[in-house]
């Protein structure tokens, strides 16, 4: 009977055949000129007193609207039916009711949303997860590329900065020693989070306003330079004095000695601890999310708050793991390469 009502609106001949059939079986219902509003009221009353069957039958009697009919009652009744069926654990029936609405009103948002979430409910778990992944991936990748930018920048800047700070510290020139000492003391001695806050929120007080990206790059750059400086300094000081003597005896200047003889020999010793710092760096970039930078952690956090879906956090973890694994692998290769001369 429901089907016949729907098809009536579509194809005349086909529908009238069904109408005939319907007339034979349910003469009383189909002949009654029902008032939709009255039906809905009765149905609601039935619902409030818990007569579900009665309510369903009444909702069902609300007819499909004619060419100029009012749609409100029809959509309302069918969606009520769909929800009742769903709550009675009959998603198949629920789908049928919602589809009746869509057939008449293809753009009805309520029915379409209902069908979408019904689809989701009935899909297998892995398919749901896959869809989540597809949904979250673009934003996560955008965040991940920002994370990579921060990591690469810091990996390039901090060894250079660290080298200069280290050379300053081992130089015998007071001002350089003082600057190096202060940089290491301050930036290793306070939390990176605090430094980022200071650069982003604090510097505007003295008239320096930075974009979140600039603040993040400066914060990470200086912080990691300070850490690497100590590693590099220890590396330089671990090289036998005889090397400096031999270089000097050949007539090399201080900078030639450093560049050609001392620093190349430190690589093997400083790359493992530096690699360690860089792995920490990959994770430390998450801290810049606190100064309005959208990187991987922030992107994941935003989507987690919007959808309350743990999948997005798992995905972020996987991306971080991929980064740390790839970098670990690369550093191991480099470490092997720079130590070649020590193998017999």
């Amino acid at each position: 009977m429901i089907n016949s009502n729907n098809k009536l609106g579509k194809s005349g001949a086909f529908a009238s055949l069904f109408l005939l059939f319907a007339l034979l079986i349910f003469p009383a219902v189909s002949l009654a000129a029902v008032d939709a509003d009255a039906l809905l009221k009765q149905a609601r009353d039935a619902l409030t007193i818990g007569q579900i069957d009665q309510a369903q039958s009444l909702f069902n009697q609300v007819p499909a609207p004619g060419p100029d009919g009012d749609d409100g009652q029809f959509v309302y009744s069918r969606m009520q039916l769909a929800r009742i069926s769903y709550s009675m654990k009959d998603p198949g029936k629920a789908r049928e009711y919602a589809e009746q609405v869509v057939v008449v009103y293809p753009d009805n948002v309520e029915a379409k949303n209902f069908l979408t979430s019904l689809d989701r409910e009935t899909k297998p778990e892995w398919q749901k997860t896959l869809e989540d992944c597809k949904r979250f991936m673009p934003n996560l990748l955008k965040g991940a590329s920002m994370t990579l930018l921060l990591v690469f920048f810091t990996m390039i800047v901090s060894p250079i900065g660290g080298l200069f700070i280290a050379l300053g510290k081992i130089s015998r020139m007071q001002p350089f020693m003082a600057i190096s000492w202060f940089t290491i003391w301050f930036f290793r001695g306070t939390p990176l989070l605090l430094q980022l806050f200071f650069i982003y929120y604090g510097l505007p007080a003295i008239g320096i306003t930075l974009s979140p990206l600039a603040a993040a790059l400066i914060g990470l750059g200086i912080n990691y330079s300070a850490y690497l400086a100590e590693i590099i300094r220890a590396g330089i000081e671990s090289i036998d004095d005889g090397q400096t003597e031999a270089a000097k005896a050949l007539g090399m200047t201080y900078s030639q000695t450093m560049r050609r003889v001392i620093i190349p020999q430190t690589y093997k010793r400083i790359i493992p601890p530096i690699a360690n710092e860089f792995i920490a760096l990959i994770k430390d970039t998450a801290l810049v999310s606190t100064i309005a930078m959208v990187e991987l952690m922030r992107a994941a956090d935003q989507m987690f708050n919007a959808y309350f879906n743990v999948t997005v956090l798992v995905m972020a973890a996987v991306i971080y793991l991929i980064f740390t694994s790839v970098f670990t692998f690369i550093f191991e290769k480099i470490e092997y390469k720079v130590g070649v001369y020590e193998r017999r």
């Binding site: 036998d240 031999a246 005896a249």
Partner: protein, 254 residues
């Protein structure tokens, strides 16, 4: 004979310890000076003042007739600028007890390094000279290996080649065989001997009296920063003329 290096009243102190005590020494071109003496007597320190690796506390050092390496403020020596010192050092080769080869460079690169970095030669030119020098010390076949694969004697010969490649006007050797196993001492002495035969000016610190006697023009006995005795090997080693302190020292060595 022309004097190449001259020390005038050179004093070097480490705190209250006087390691080199007002030493006067003239080295003529082609002369082979051997310095012997007990441990801690100041031999290495004296040698290192000769190429300005130690800063003297007073005195003068003349190289090829000119006072070098220091400027004098209120009569006290202060090391000259880096540029002048480097130029001086590149003309005086030095070989260390511990070889001090650059481990991250191959044998060939070790011998090329000073020529390219200090003398500014092209790589091709430096390679050619380096190969000649390796030939001279008998190590042409090891040019492409890293020092870690060499024996002690081979390392020291490479160190000698590295110094020679700078075409120095004189060579300083600080106990060149003391870190070697006894069976490897000979090959290094052979190399030094062939340099001596070529007429190279040399100052050698060694505990090997046989070699001192054989190669030296002048032998110096040093103790607590002073020259106790100085003479030809003949005077130095013959029983009649020998200083009693030297006899005591040599008896202990044997």
């Amino acid at each position: 004979m022309e004097t190449i290096l001259e020390l005038k009243k050179v004093v070097k102190k480490f705190g209250s310890l006087t390691a080199v005590n007002s030493i006067d020494l003239k080295i003529t071109r082609g002369e082979k000076v051997v310095i012997v003496g007990p441990s801690g007597s100041g031999k290495s320190t004296l040698l290192r003042t000769m190429n300005f690796l130690e800063t003297i506390d007073s005195g003068e050092i003349h190289f090829e007739g000119n006072p070098c390496g220091y400027i004098y403020k209120d009569g006290n020596p202060v090391l000259d600028c880096q540029k002048n010192l480097c130029a001086l050092r590149s003309e005086i080769g030095m070989v260390f007890q511990q070889f001090n080869l650059f481990p991250h460079m191959t044998v060939l690169q070790n011998v090329m390094e000073g020529q390219v970095t200090v003398l500014g030669k092209s790589k091709e030119e430096a390679r050619e000279v380096a190969l000649q020098m390796l030939e001279k010390v008998g190590l042409s076949d090891r040019a492409t290996v890293y020092p870690v694969t060499l024996s002690g004697g081979q390392k020291q010969r490479v160190a000698i080649a590295r110094a020679l490649a700078m075409k120095p006007k004189m060579m300083l050797f600080d106990e060149p065989t003391s870190a070697l196993d006894p069976e490897l001492v000979g090959e290094v002495f052979d190399t030094i001997r062939s340099l001596a035969d070529d007429g190279m000016t040399m100052v050698i610190v060694t505990h090997n009296m046989g070699f001192a006697r054989e190669v030296a023009d002048t032998v110096i006995f040093m103790e607590t920063g002073d020259f106790i005795a100085k003479g030809t090997p003949g005077e130095f080693f013959s029983a009649e003329t020998q200083h009693p302190r030297i006899k005591e020292f040599m008896d202990k060595l044997l």
